[in-house]
């Protein structure tokens, strides 16, 4: 099969730009970054990558800009306040599906649709319960794409991408920071599945889809073979020249896991009752934003109603919290992803590489960002 011509919507982002670069340089695929503004387009073009500027939420304009392409990969997610996001998602989904009629659309969703903590029950795959705004927006986009793809007979593959790590990626930056934090401990000695995916493996997986027959499916993408958090932390420790992260004791690891699992299995009604009581007990100091379920519900409600005014009110409450300067956060806790179980449902099958191969790239990147370099300006010249 001839190499397909690919358009990457959101080609200026973390994953999009890595995908764009690798496809063009290593896989012999002609890939174009599709950006909706000149600022992003400039970033892509300055790295020598082909770019096209188009209103990605305008079906006619996107179709025109991508008419000579065979496949679109969507890495973009419009992130506005809740009141605008539904409409933005609807427009983007509509324009992506219509631009891909008779073509193949690969949409990058996220394992965030399962929630920060993944309890590992199989029913979660079909009925995910995201607990963050990001996860809910990703899930909303999945629903929209599935419905529209059916309507327009477009082949759409939805990939629920694991926590992406590698050079220049936010997860790796966060891991470098955690390694340096003295109090940080890895639960269960990091032996739980990470549900993470090395960027090179993600691209290898996408490549399989680009060269294969289009499939109408929803699949998880994690490292193949699956890596543990210990593998990933040790890799980053070595790349940054630090000692291996210590383990959190078994008792504490299990306590956190059980507590979280119980919470994840609690129904929404029970959560609301419990948190309302907790909220009431803290009155008058607390407010809506301090109760996670209320916050989630209000975001959901605002998204449904689409009221920009209500949205602005909620945002003001959020901003006032920061401006008051009186509320310091508690000591950094262990992110829930480190006590999650394996993602439910089928995973994308591909020939992955060992993340150990990323050591050199991680080391170069870590050296570049961890200390000032006198010759940084010369390298630009």
């Amino acid at each position: 099969m001839n190499a397909p011509r690919v358009g990457i919507v959101g080609g200026a982002g973390h994953v999009g730009s890595a995908l764009l670069k690798t496809l063009n340089t290593d896989y012999g695929v002609t890939a174009f970054g599709i950006c909706r503004n000149s600022v992003s387009a400039a970033r892509v073009a300055s790295q020598g990558m082909p770019v096209r500027v188009a209103k990605t939420d305008d079906a006619a304009q996107l179709a025109e800009a991508t008419k000579d392409l065979d496949i679109l990969v969507n890495c973009a997610l419009p992130q506005y306040r809740p009141s605008k996001t539904l409409i933005a998602n609807q427009r983007l989904a509509d324009s992506l599906v219509r631009a891909c009629v008779g073509k193949h659309l690969i949409h990058l969703s996220s394992v965030a649709v399962y929630g920060d903590f993944i309890p590992g029950c199989s029913s979660l795959f079909d009925n995910p319960r995201p607990d963050t705004l990001y996860g809910r927006q990703k899930l909303q986009m999945e629903h929209l794409l599935r419905t529209l793809a059916k309507k327009y007979y477009t082949k759409c593959t939805i990939l629920r991408v694991g926590h992406v790590y590698g050079a220049e990626l936010l997860w790796s930056e966060a891991i470098f920071d955690l390694i340096k934090k003295e109090g940080f401990r890895l639960p269960f000695n990091g032996q739980l599945p990470s549900n993470a995916v090395w960027i090179t493996n993600l691209i290898a997986g996408i490549r399989e889809l680009l060269f294969g027959e289009p499939v109408q499916a929803t699949l998880n993408v994690v490292d193949s073979p699956q890596t543990t958090w210990r593998d990933i932390f040790d890799l980053h420790s070595q790349a940054s020249g630090n000692c291996a992260v210590k383990s959190l004791n078994q008792f504490e690891s299990e306590r956190r896991f059980r507590e979280r699992k119980r919470w994840a299995e609690t129904g929404m009604t029970a959560r609301v009752v419990r948190e309302t009581l907790r909220w009431a007990m803290h009155l008058p100091a607390s407010y809506v934003a301090s109760v996670p379920t209320f916050k989630a519900m209000s975001q959901w409600a605002v998204a449904k109603i689409g009221s920009e005014r209500l949205d602005a009110k909620l945002w003001a409450v959020h901003c006032k919290r920061f401006a008051s300067g009186t509320k310091a956060n508690a000591a950094p806790d262990i992110p829930l992803i480190f006590i999650s179980e394996h993602v439910p449902g089928p995973c994308l099958s591909y020939k992955g590489n060992s993340p150990a191969e990323s050591m050199a790239a991680l080391r170069v990147w870590h050296d570049a960002i961890s200390a000032p370099h006198a010759n940084a300006w010369r390298s630009i010249q």
Binding site: V39, A42, R43, A312, F322, A323, A328, N329, I380
Partner: protein, 351 residues
Amino acid sequence: MGIAVHKPRHVRELNIGIVGCGHVVETLHLPALVSICDMNIKWMCDSSIDRARIVARTWDVRRTFAQIADCSDVDAVLVATPVGTRRRILDETIRRGWHALCEKPFALSTSEHRDMLEAAAQKGLKLGAGYMRRHYWAVGRAREMLRSKVLGPLKEIIANEPAHLEATGLDQSSYRNSAKASGGGVLVETGCHLLDEIFFVSDAVTADVRSCAQKMWNDYEVETAASGNIRLNTGEHVALQLAVSGVRPMFAGIAFRCELGEIRLHLDPAKNLEVFLGDSQSHRVELPQPRPNQQSLQYVSAAFRSEWLHFLEAIRTTGEWDPSKETGLMTTDFITQCNEIAKATCGGVLG
């Protein structure tokens, strides 16, 4: 939920107007302003009156305008419109005798910057620029250390600022698509903060650019690299190397290299100030934040509040106010020099 501040009886309440109702106003300026006593936000003005109404209603501001000419008189204004649109607005605020705090960068060129300072000085008005990073704890601490010469005289400054490839949230209607409105790229948009921090911390008096290269795409500058010289208020000369990039991963901070060690100032206000001792920099000391474990946005919010307190205090008093320092004239001048050298040098503009 504001900070409880008792209102002294003798302090006159100041009336403030806000021109431009964008994200930074809603997220940072307004929360800071409503937490300060002795001032009253009179009106909000935005070319999109709907936008102004939504923000005004949220923050209990009674009046909204689409044109600055229609606005009622106030003591001071916040000008938070794109730099390319600001000249006309500042001319109007000066004509009407209002003090003004401008969002950064203050002006597009040295000549424009000087013109505005002169016009304000003639009317005895105070102009400030929103270089709020000066109010970060670590910035103040680094400045104290350099002034005390605890690490010996300053020898060299290396400053890098990368931009993350994150969602820009911009569509084609954003002013940032226009090089003319936004100022033209990363040097103006984020590099101005970096330069201001350098000059503020080191107590620089003048700065000259020796060489500069810029990477451009369709009039938008994506990367700038420059080397130059700055003269400190002590008369010493210090070499400066600067790199600002919208695409390249690099250290985000400033290294002040002194004779006996190095002070490393991170751009993220949540990170501690680092000091490296000795030639080999083998001894590292971290100076922790006085209020640890807060999110970056909390430090940024606190800096905005501190900036406003500083500006309002200056309006009330007749004390010393150096407009060229307060508005970052050296920063504007350095950026102007960079742009001119990059354009003039054959091959200086890449891409």
